[in-house]
Structures are given as C-alpha cells and as structure tokens.
Amino acid sequence: MTTLQSNLLENHTPTGREEAWRFTPLKRLGGMHDGSALAVSRHSLAAENSLPKGVSLVQREITALTETDDAIVNRVREFTNVGTVLTIEANTEIAEPIFLGRTSEGTAEAEFSRVLINAGVNSKAVVIIENTGDTHLAEDLEIQVSAGAHLTFISLQEWGAKTIHAARHHAVVDRDATFKSIVVTIGGDVVRLLPTVDFIAPGASCDLSGVYFATAGQFFEHRMFVDHKVPNAKSRVNYKGALAGDKAHTVWIGDVFIRAAAEGTDTYELNRNLLLSDGARADSVPNLEIETGEIVGAGHASTTGRFDDEQLFYLMSRGINGDDARRLVVRGFFNEIVSEINNEEIQNRIMSRIDDELAKAGK
C-alpha cells in the first residue's frame, strides 16, 4: 500500500498529526472536520446564465463515483445524498463556457454540499465556478470525464475574508479523455482544496494548474493526488503562488502515484512560490511514488524564492518605478496560468485582484 494515500483516519477525527492534516489549522475549519459545525442542507451552486442545449443542472440523489478517506468529504456524504448535478450530454460540444456560481449565505452555518459534473462521452465543454462572498462550505465535488470527452474545469475562489472552504474536486478520467483544471485561490480565510484525479482507462490525460495569493493571516492549501492506475496516461501539474504579509501561509502538496500497471505513464509536476515579504510561509512538497520503471517520464520541481533584484533593476532602468516594476513581475509570474483562462473579463478581474493583494502587502 502506498504511503501517499495518507488521509486515512480509521474513522477518527483529524488531530493534525496525520500526514494529510499536518499543515492545516484545524481550529480554523469551523468544525467542519470534527462534526461540530452546524451543517445545513443548501444547494447554493446555480447557473449564472441560461444553460445551452445539451446541458442540464438539477438537484437529485447522488451516488458517489469514488470512495475517499477525506474526513470532511465523508461527513458531507453522511449528511446528505442529495446534490447538484451538472450534465453535459454525450457528443455535445458547448462553445461558450458554462458559468456556475455560489451565492453568499453567511457564516453562521456550514453548507455541506455535494456536486457531480458529468461530461458525457465525446462531449466538449468549459465549466467555470465563481465562488464569491462569505460562507462556510464543505464541498464534495466529483467530475466524471467520460471516454473521449474534453472538459476544462475552472474553479475561482474569490471569496471574502471570512470564508472557510474545504473541498475535494475529484475527477475520474476515462479512455482518451482530457481533463484540464485551473484553480485560482485569491480570497478566503481558510481554503483547503484537494484537486485529485483517477485515471481509469488508457490514453487519458490531465492538466492541473493553479494560482494562489495569500496575504496576512490567510491559509490556502492545495493538495493534489494523481493516481496513475492504468497504462499510457499523462498528467501535468503546475501551481504558482505568491505570499505577502505576516502569517500568510500556503501549502502545496503534489502526490503522484504510478502503480505497477501504469506502464507508459508520463507525468511532471511543478510548484513555484514567490515570497514577497518576511513572516510568510510556503510549504511545498512534491511526492512521487513509482511502482514501474516502464514509463515515459516522471519528474517534479519545486521552488520558493523572492523578487529577483535583477528583474526589478532591468525594468526600473527603463524608467518604470518600483511599484509598477513589482506589479509587472508578479503579473508576469502568474500570467502563464491566468492566460490559460480563455476569458478576458475573468483574466482582468483576477489580475487586478492580484494587483490589490500586492498593494495591500506593501513593499
């Protein structure tokens, strides 16, 4: 058994000693992990525009696609078997992004939410979830990417300052399907996201990318797990983060498991962090466990650094003042991933939020 499947709790509540919880400030989870949260039945996820033909969004009973050892997700499943189901019919190509959003319902209670996204065989779509406002949210979100489907899933955490959000976004990717995920976490008090992928048939691929920017006091954790259990699947992970301000804390965990059957696997994961001030902490832990040598490639890299003085000097030597030079460098740092979001309005909104975070952080 792999050491990477480390959420296992044997039915006890996380204490912080478990590998999967050792970075998380449990006291700031609003009791979502230990049963003390006041869970409510609420389905706040809704379509922001009318849905195109071939796409439906309903509330109904859900059968989980996969088992999980995540304590919070299991509490959500105990609490309810009803959730929100987004279905993209087979052989349907949706040109415009499908926008979903969550409305803010306050922080007195915690929404225990189940979501299923079902991308039918040979379908093609972009799903964007815009998370704004203040809420406590425990989210069990599963994504079925059926054979030959191409799904881009964009999750934007633009939460207000009081939000606690703990979620597992788990994709099951079938034969010759592609799953592209872009996560943006720039708001919230505590955000703990588990973007995880199971490959269930050969020829599948996933591309998990993300950006996060934590300022004073914020805790953002992104914990990937890519399970290569079949041959000839490809995975790419690229997360970039910036931190500024006292006790800004980010955690990035990249677990990739290449099982004995997964010959022909091609995987690479990357995490880069930009520390913009003292007093901030970035944890970055790539883990690769390999049970077969018959693979195309497996690698990872993790860097954490400060502003490059040479870059700032170069820009300033062209008349650009220090604040603008830093803004250019930070925007440039995130641009590689933000530019992948094929929507100018969202790009501009995120970049200007990043500018604000940087300005808030000072120099």
Partner: protein, 250 residues
C-alpha cells in the same frame, strides 16, 4: 546640449572577503552628440562604471560625483535616472517571464514620457523600430528576453534605445556575442538613434570591430579601475595593433 559629468568616481562591491574597490577615481565628461569609447581588458571595471551610473544596487559609491546637466545622478533612484535621460544597454539583458515585449515597451514609454503614447502612433513607432532592426513582428508578443538568442537580446536593447530616446546611452559590450551581420544591424540601429536624437554615447567594448560602424570621437583606455590613456579614434587603431599589455601592470 546636455552634459554627463563623472568626477573622481570610486566604487566598491561587497564580497565575502569584504569591500573591494573596483573604480579608483574615474573622470569623464560626455556631451550630447559625442561618442566616447571605453576600451580595456576584462576585469578592468568598465561594466562597473556602466552599472554604477545606472544605479545597480550591487555597487556602492564611496567617493566622487555623477551629474547630468548639474543634477546629482547618484541621489536618484534607478527609474529616476532613466527619467533624467540615462539609458543602459546591458550586456546580459534580464529575462522577465510572463511580461510581453509589447507590454514592457509601452509601460516604459509611458513612464518616460509621462503619459501613455497614443496607441496608433505607438504601434507605428514599434513596428518601424522592429523592421529597421530586422526583427520579426511576432517578437512583440514574446516574453521579455525569455528564450532570446544573444543577437535578439542585443537587438531588443537597441530597439529600446530607439524608442525611449535618452539623452545619454551607455552601451555595455553591445557587440559581444554578435555575428558579423547582427553586429552591423545593431550598430546601424545605434547610429540611426544617435542621428535622430543626438544623444551622447558611452560605448564599452573589448574590441575595435564595432568602432568600424560606430565612429568614436574619443577613445579612453580603462585599466585597473581608472582611465589610463585618452585620445582620438587613432588610439583604437593602436590598441588593435598592440593590445592592452602595456596598460596592465605585471
């Protein structure tokens, strides 16, 4: 008419062994329209002079003055020096990932001109500068210096010289790493910019080959942190024949 005046400039850098003096008292005056070549062997302090004038934080000025039309350059921040009219074409231009050449140039022009250049005119200016330096139009969309060849980096520096129109251009080994054709194209760009703007040039080089294209009015030989000989263009010919041996103490 502008004057860049360097008087008694002493500069040191911090090393693990403590502060080391690199420039040991440099005197140099450059006026608009003049081209001064600074030539000297490796390690003589030529690049330190360039970066010290531009304000690189690595260098500590321990004595002397640098003034531009009487204004104290050493009191200025790096961007203020650029706004005052100084431009440094770097030997090793720095990569800025995720920032396009187009965005970078427009941000710089906006900073230096005090307002954003009118889009239509600006597009024309950039296009003309790129064409004259024989750069492909796709260049503007690439990230600043990222994956550029040596020649592309130098063209990009000189393109900035043409667009940003400084009062004084310091060219730090702009000829290094260029093949014969690229050297000609880049040099022609320098001459074109000077003809258009009549700026002064401080041209730092090891070799005389770039001087065939960019004719110096004055040649200064630099050795061991100071200017050891000065003359006209004929001094470059002498260096070409004899090298720097006589200036480097054994």
């Amino acid at each position: 008419m502008s004057t860049l005046e360097i008087r008694g400039l002493k500069v040191s850098v911090e090393t693990e062994q403590g502060a080391v003096e690199i420039l040991k008292g440099v005197d140099l005056t450059i006026k608009s329209g003049e081209t001064h070549a600074i030539m000297g062997p490796n390690g003589s302090g030529k690049s330190t002079l360039a970066y010290s004038i531009a304000g690189h934080p690595k260098y500590t000025i321990t004595d002397g003055t640098v003034t531009l039309d009487g204004a104290d350059v050493l009191e200025m921040s790096v961007d203020e020096r650029a706004k005052a009219g100084l431009f440094l074409a770097m030997q090793y231009p720095v990569e800025v990932p995720g920032v396009s050449v187009s965005n970078f140039l427009r941000t710089a022009a906006t900073a230096l001109r005090g307002e954003a250049p009118k889009l239509r005119e600006w597009v024309g200016e950039v296009k003309a500068a790129m064409e004259s330096l024989k750069m492909d139009a796709s260049f503007a969309q690439r990230n600043v210096n990222e994956g550029f060849s040596g020649g592309e980096k130098k063209r990009h520096e000189i393109m900035q010289l043409e667009l940003l129109k400084p009062k004084f251009a310091i060219l730090d080994e702009t000829d290094s790493g260029l093949d014969v054709d690229a050297l000609r194209i880049v040099s022609e760009g320098v001459v074109r910019a000077k003809d258009a703007n009549n700026h002064g040039i401080l041209l730092i080089t090891h070799y005389t080959r770039i001087l065939k294209y960019i004719k110096p009015d004055f040649v200064h030989v630099f050795a061991n942190g100071r200017i050891v000989e000065e003359g006209g263009p004929e001094l470059a010919d002498k260096l070409e024949a004899n090298g720097y041996a006589e200036y480097v103490s054994a």
